[in-house]
Symmetry: C2
Subunit: 306 residues, 2 copies
Amino acid sequence: MTTAGYYAAVDWGTSSFRLWVIGEDGAVLAERRSAEGMTTAAKTGFHKVLDGHLAAVSAPPHLPIIICGMAGARQGWREAGYIETPAPLAEIAGRAIAIPDVDRDIRILPGLAQRDQRYPDVMRGEETQLLGAVALLGSGRHLVCMPGTHSKWVRLAADKVEGFSTFMTGELFEAVSRHTILSHAVAGAETFPADSSAFAEAVSHARHNPALATNLLFSVRAGQLLHGTGAADARAKLSGALIGLEIAGALSGFGPRESVCLVGSGALGRLYRTALEGQGLNVRVVDADEAVRAGLSAAAQSIWPL
Amino acid sequence: MTTAGYYAAVDWGTSSFRLWVIGEDGAVLAERRSAEGMTTAAKTGFHKVLDGHLAAVSAPPHLPIIICGMAGARQGWREAGYIETPAPLAEIAGRAIAIPDVDRDIRILPGLAQRDQRYPDVMRGEETQLLGAVALLGSGRHLVCMPGTHSKWVRLAADKVEGFSTFMTGELFEAVSRHTILSHAVAGAETFPADSSAFAEAVSHARHNPALATNLLFSVRAGQLLHGTGAADARAKLSGALIGLEIAGALSGFGPRESVCLVGSGALGRLYRTALEGQGLNVRVVDADEAVRAGLSAAAQSIWPL
């Protein structure tokens, strides 16, 4: 495996680690993926985890490393701080922090913070996806949806993050499906079809009746008891209720929109696309993996210009 | 301990067991409380749990037993079915089922069901509280709030349940505070003051912006990171967000009201009273323990008239 390279880019989340070795021409020379996210690495050691992956791709000793995500959290490798909104994305690279006392140049990018006294918000990792997304989307005004454990909705204007809101959709889905009475209703189905009518109906109901969201959740259990609702439909309804509530919240917070830019990938990206289009929105999709790589590349090129 | 008696009344929930031996004059002759709810009793045996408590109060061999709650669920002792809405509360006693092949007269009261195809709902135990509450409230039209793991809001008219809605407020509070990122924010505080301004503000925000509920939840975490929000305030905000969302849903589902009857007790009852009064509602409180005992008594007197 050839591993001469310009730099290595790392997306280090709460529960996942991804590394790409990038050549001077921008090509991906090597890739690593593992479950050694912040939670694991905080126990086993961030440096050790990173070195293991670099050794596995025979990275040269002085290859510089650019990192985004939870490695920069207070519980991470080293706290990388926050840029406050309104936040020009161009500032991200300049606010990277360096890991001291290591034998190579390792930088961690900062997150973004909205220091509202009552309704504060933070992101860490998504700012780098946004930096990459604007390179793909072009400047201008965009409402961006970034689904996940903590979904982010972002108002972008002229490459600046004007404001953003986090919705706990993905984490609530996990907590509700595993740790409440609904666990019985969804047991036995790990997925559901993307064209599920139960999903579409729940999205629509929650989007138009957000106050009734937790009532809609309980109807999943009641449906199992009274109508024998199957596990796949139950899971679809739970997912649709939470995603519909998120869409209602984002559109109430940022005002009604005609189009939205979806930074997603895989099954979750397809699900959000279905949900958003079902609510009459024009959806422009940016692949989340491409976006984070583009953002890390933009930062690396700014820090280590060729 | 004197245990001659008219009957024993049992409120058998998911996670709790309560028994009262009632005399012919309505006096409570003995009382037992334990954590042997349905979940435990389904493993150890319902008959055995009940017999243990009856022996502990030296109940006479032929004392009849009236039971409400999850003992009548499909996963309970014996399924007691549902009365469908609109449901006259007077029918509850007549629809009790008897436990077969036991040496005393043991009856379990049915639950209520709303067999809407898309948004079905069920209750089990609360119907008996309602039966008792109307004896205390008088007939007429009432909007009743019954807080708990699965809070119930009920529209009563002329001793009939016209409709009801369940909100998963209590269970969501447990799941979110234990199994999400907010567990860090609330760790170290088991309670918060009832006059907490963080609670009141969160109730109000969620009641008026229900679509932003899961965004409000995440702000609890962000507040800890950015402003050092303490655990008690974080817990208050989480609780307020979920209760405010419930109030928003109930008032959107049943229409705006000026007054509400709160069937509650203890700290949770006080919290809901604060929340409801903070939203400008007149609150009439019925003690939940008294209500369930009054409901079980009404059913017992109907089944075993003196």
